[in-house]
Symmetry: C2
Subunit: 305 residues, 2 copies
């Protein structure tokens, strides 16, 4: 199995506390490192958790509220000061390039590496990135300004051929890719060997959905159906549901409902309002609806299985 | 004595470490709270050290390198979310208003309080602020972009009248302000009572000079002569003096030299390069030149005496 692991760097909502930072997450997907949102102090959190910042090649910013991107200018500056030359890709709603360009203009900063800004304008789900192993697409959220979650999916891998069968049936090398793709084998004696006898299935592709920030709505339930891990914002407990609606956020109960309706394997809640010193009430509320729920805790790594 | 105290919030140079944050300081000057520079995560440091952020009414930004101001947008947002209505004054070289305005435009943020941006354009020392108790003026630095230190001075206070003398000479109420200002008193019998017999001197006015970032130069030595406390950047040790020159910074030795030439009472060094895990070599080097030197340590408060 390839590594597929999420590390929480920040789990607070708009106002940080002395112990909880604004939103940021690092996703290790088969040794590709994706940064998801980049709240203030993300670079300090990355250092604290001993994550090598230059391994990050793609950054996904959900929206342009400060608690989701204000750590980005500092991180970009540090990447530069530490000698980065590799291209960096940043995906976000429109405006981020202008913000970064103006701050670099006033600091007379000329980066040694190239940033490719990808502006997300489409209000429906679109594919942002794809390689031989994985895809990343947007999940349109409903917030006060344009906002997107992100869906990270492994691609289906080819079947594995059983080594002993190669010898047993004297299978020529050029046949192997075809068999891995599901074809039967015709032996030298003209006998059809069914594919199922020659191969084992690769592990099912895994997926991670990041959903923050949004008012409760079920528009993306279908898109995130059956994901292995769902991170969903749960800014408030249900007694604050009016405040949640007013600010276009969700309660822990609502996060649980989305997880249940989408039939996900596991739910992590986060983006906690600073009013909650203790997070147990948020967890208890989500668990009432969806029992396999965990709290996002800074510095913890969650395997996606 | 009025309180006059400096709290270090961040003491790192451009690249933060897991334990040292970019530059920020809080100056309490007679219960007026001034924020000096505002590196990334300043709002988190303020919370950590239990400083009430709404008490800050004036912010002084030395220059627009990210490590000196990138904590500002987040702090401004948090002041807004916590219900601030009081006006806030921000002093900085030109450009900051544009940077803040564009980030607020994209986040659709409409602050509940007014920010008055004061753009520092004059390359010689100018007075930025004055009230009945204190003055703040710029100290022009020599850095890669326009950069200013700040000089905070108490005003000379009137003499104190000795209570017993009021009774002894039956001094009328309207005479008291004149005596406090140094005038002698003529008693009812026509006898001149010298001022020195009636009053004690108020404590000498105190002063704090903040000098960061700059290449070594003595242009501001005269302006900061005899200050009680000097904070001076000391990014490198002397073996890195070429690098210091190239990046327009100072060594610890040079910081000590400025303190010695300006005949200050005490020196605090800071703005340490991330390459120094241990700060003792920087302290030892400055102390060789100027013995009354302290290290800037985050969370520590330094009384100005």
């Amino acid at each position: 199995m390839f590594p597929f692991e999420l590390t929480i760097l920040g789990c607070s909502s708009a106002t940080p506390t002395s112990s909880r930072h604004p939103t940021a997450q690092l996703l290790n997907m088969n040794e590709r490192f994706f940064l998801i949102d980049c709240g203030e102090a993300t670079q300090i959190q990355l250092r604290k958790f001993k994550i090598k910042i230059q391994r990050i090649d793609r950054i996904f910013i959900s929206h342009l509220h400060g608690d989701h991107y204000l750590g980005l200018p500092g991180l970009l500056g540090t990447m530069h000061l530490l000698g980065r030359e590799k291209e960096l890709h940043i995906y976000s709603p429109p405006g981020l390039e202008e913000i970064i360009t103006i701050s670099h203009h006033h600091s007379k900063t000329y980066l040694k590496y190239n940033i490719v800004f990808h502006s997300i304008e489409e209000r429906s789900a679109v594919r942002l990135f794809e390689d031989d192993k994985l895809t990343v697409e947007t999940i349109p959220m409903n917030h006060r300004i344009p906002c997107y979650g992100f869906l990270f999916c492994e691609k289906k891998r080819p079947k594995k051929i059983i080594q002993e069968k190669i010898e047993e049936y004297n299978i020529p090398l050029q046949e192997i890719p075809l068999i891995k793709n599901g074809q039967d084998f015709i032996s030298q004696e003209g006998k059809r060997i069914p594919n199922a006898e020659l191969t084992t299935e690769a592990p099912s592709p895994r997926s991670y959905a990041y959903c923050s920030d949004t008012i409760y709505n079920e528009s993306y339930v279908q898109q995130i159906k059956n994901v292995n891990l769902l991170y969903h914002e749960a800014t408030f407990t249900s007694d604050m549901s009016e405040r949640a609606k007013d600010t276009h956020h969700c309660t822990a109960h609502e996060a649980g409902s989305i997880a249940l309706k989408a039939n996900v394997n596991q739910l992590i809640i986060g983006h906690y309002s600073a009013r909650y010193r203790e997070l147990e009430p948020l967890l208890a509320e989500a668990k009432q609806v969806f029992s396999n729920t965990l709290l996002a805790i800074e510095g913890e790594a969650y395997k996606i299985i």
